[in-house]
């Protein structure tokens, strides 16, 4: 039976999660240099386009059709059998369930772009986004949510610590290794060009995350409400601890650090949202700040140009949340399973297995996929293109065009075809 209350909430939650992708675009665009603002944002817009199409064609089916333990079947390919009837095990229409899950696929594809911004060419990125959404995201989603082997064994993942957070984080690591560092990395200071975008983006992501976690109970029942409230509590605790770490390290509390902390807190509570008590959610938010803060301090000292720290903010925080569940899941709150602290040691084993398997698969498959695309077409442009900036080279636009020196091209003046212009990349 379709429940109208549940359906109403899930319609809203789907829209909330969709907003997270442009919000991420804003967040990422603020973190890059001015000349790459549009390209960075457009990678997120690209995810809205190709991930949605691929999800409707095959991704959803491979993730949520029965299939086998590793990957779903093709019975729902091209939206076959995805109707207004309730999805099995839920009280919402199957079509809405599909759309809600589509928004997860989109945001995850967009997240990975953070590893390769400011240098990867746009068209190869489109190909990567399309294939990655199927080969990595849909497979991991099947493992965690779609009746795959991890879910069968009893691994808990409320809203996507496995496919979304660890999937994007460890894929980002592989992508950064294949695409390699920006030419100026380690030579020049490459600074965020608009910290306000970063804060607004983080705020909108947090807002959207109420749909992401709050909707992952597929209704207005206990799990959804618990996850919703935990999505308020955990990031607040991460922020407080992050402030303290900033103060200890540099005697100043940084704005971009705060934006990062919001993301880390939201990520950490994602797998645990509907499974832990509010008090433990606060503890998780606070705890997650530590490894992520350390990773964000450590990474720029290496040659690894994982540009926007997707691994630290998503991979590490997601892994922390998944493992935390093994200790502190509480049946009296979630009605599903206890963790080690409540007497069920085997849950920790299930969680540890996911924390091992998902990163290995995401890293390996992304590595192969990008190497493969790289054989067909160069993944990055020339040093000159990189110096000019991705916006002009790949999009023929500037984020902050002044119009000074811009001469209108009209066909009457006969200029449009004859003018010698710089070739686009």
């Amino acid at each position: 039976m379709v429940d109208t209350g549940d359906t109403a909430w899930m319609l809203a939650a789907t829209a909330l999660v969709l907003l997270m992708t442009p919000a991420l675009g804003l967040f990422y665009a603020g973190l890059v240099r001015e000349k790459n603002t549009l390209n960075t944002f457009m990678m997120c817009v690209a995810a809205l386009a190709v991930a949605t199409v691929m999800w409707a064609l095959v991704g959803y089916s491979l993730a949520f059709d029965d299939g086998n333990g590793l990957v779903g079947g093709l019975d729902h390919a091209l939206l076959q059998g995805v109707t207004l009837q309730p999805r099995e095990g839920t009280t919402i229409p199957h079509l809405l369930f599909f759309a809600f899950q589509a928004t997860f696929c989109i945001i995850t594809v967009a997240l990975v772009s953070g590893a390769v911004v400011e240098r990867m060419r746009f068209v190869p990125f489109l190909a990567f986004a399309a294939l990655w959404s199927v080969l990595v995201y849909a497979v991991l989603a099947h493992w965690a949510f779609g009746g795959g082997w991890l879910q069968e064994r009893g691994t808990l993942d409320f809203a996507g610590g496995i496919p979304v957070e660890m999937g994007s984080g460890f894929s980002a690591l592989a992508a950064a290794l294949v695409v390699r560092a920006r030419k100026d990395y380690g030579r020049q200071a490459l600074l965020p060009h608009n910290a306000v975008y970063v804060l607004v983006g983080a705020g909108l992501l947090w807002f959207g995350w109420f749909g992401f976690n709050g909707g992952s109970g597929f209704g207005t029942g206990d799990a959804g409400v618990l996850a919703f409230v935990n999505t308020l509590l955990a990031p607040a605790c991460t922020l407080v601890v992050w402030f303290a770490l900033d103060l200890m390290r540099g005697r100043q509390v940084t704005a971009i650090g705060a934006a990062t902390a919001i993301i880390v807190g939201c990520v950490a509570i994602t797998p645990a949202g509907g499974f832990v008590a509010p008090g433990w959610a606060m503890a998780l938010g606070a705890l997650a700040a530590l490894p992520c803060y350390a990773a964000i301090q450590w990474r720029p000292r290496t040659r690894l140009d994982e540009t926007l720290d997707v691994l630290a903010a998503h991979g590490v925080a997601g892994l922390t949340g998944i493992v935390f569940l093994g200790f502190f899941a509480q049946k009296s709150w979630n009605g599903v399973a206890d963790g080690l602290v409540y007497g069920n040691a085997s849950q920790l084993g299930h969680q540890a297995l996911a924390a091992l398997a998902a990163p290995v698969y995401a890293f390996g498959m992304t590595l192969l996929l990008l190497k493969g695309i790289g054989l067909i077409t160069p993944l990055r442009g020339s040093d000159r293109d990189e110096a000019l900036g991705m916006d002009i080279v790949h999009h023929g636009e500037e984020a902050y065009a002044s119009g000074e020196g811009a001469i209108l091209m009209t066909t009457e003046a006969g200029e449009s075809d004859k003018t010698r212009v710089v070739d686009p990349a």
Binding site: D184, T419, V422
Partner: protein, 117 residues
Amino acid sequence: MKLVIGIVRPEKANDVLEALHRAEVRGVSLSRIQGHGGELDRVETYRGTRVKMGLADKVRFEVAVSEAFVEPTVQALCEGGRTGEVGDGKIFVVALERVVRIRTGETDDGAVTPSGA
């Protein structure tokens, strides 16, 4: 004393700064300017509007130096600013009549880049 004015690509500004630093030239002003040289125009499209960008962003360095440092400064600007393609910019060397360091009141060679040399 000469004023060395170097107009370079914005993306080469950091390389020029590094080269000037290596040449032990101290005391540099930098401004963002727009200009038109011989380079090809770039076309941008905003919805239905296509425009040819007739002005390119450049960075203008101004370095006041004593005679001995004119050549190293010019060398550094060339070395740091060159890509080999049209649009690398130009260097102008201009005679200076008088220089005053505001803080100390020192003048001329005592007030320009590496005076102590």
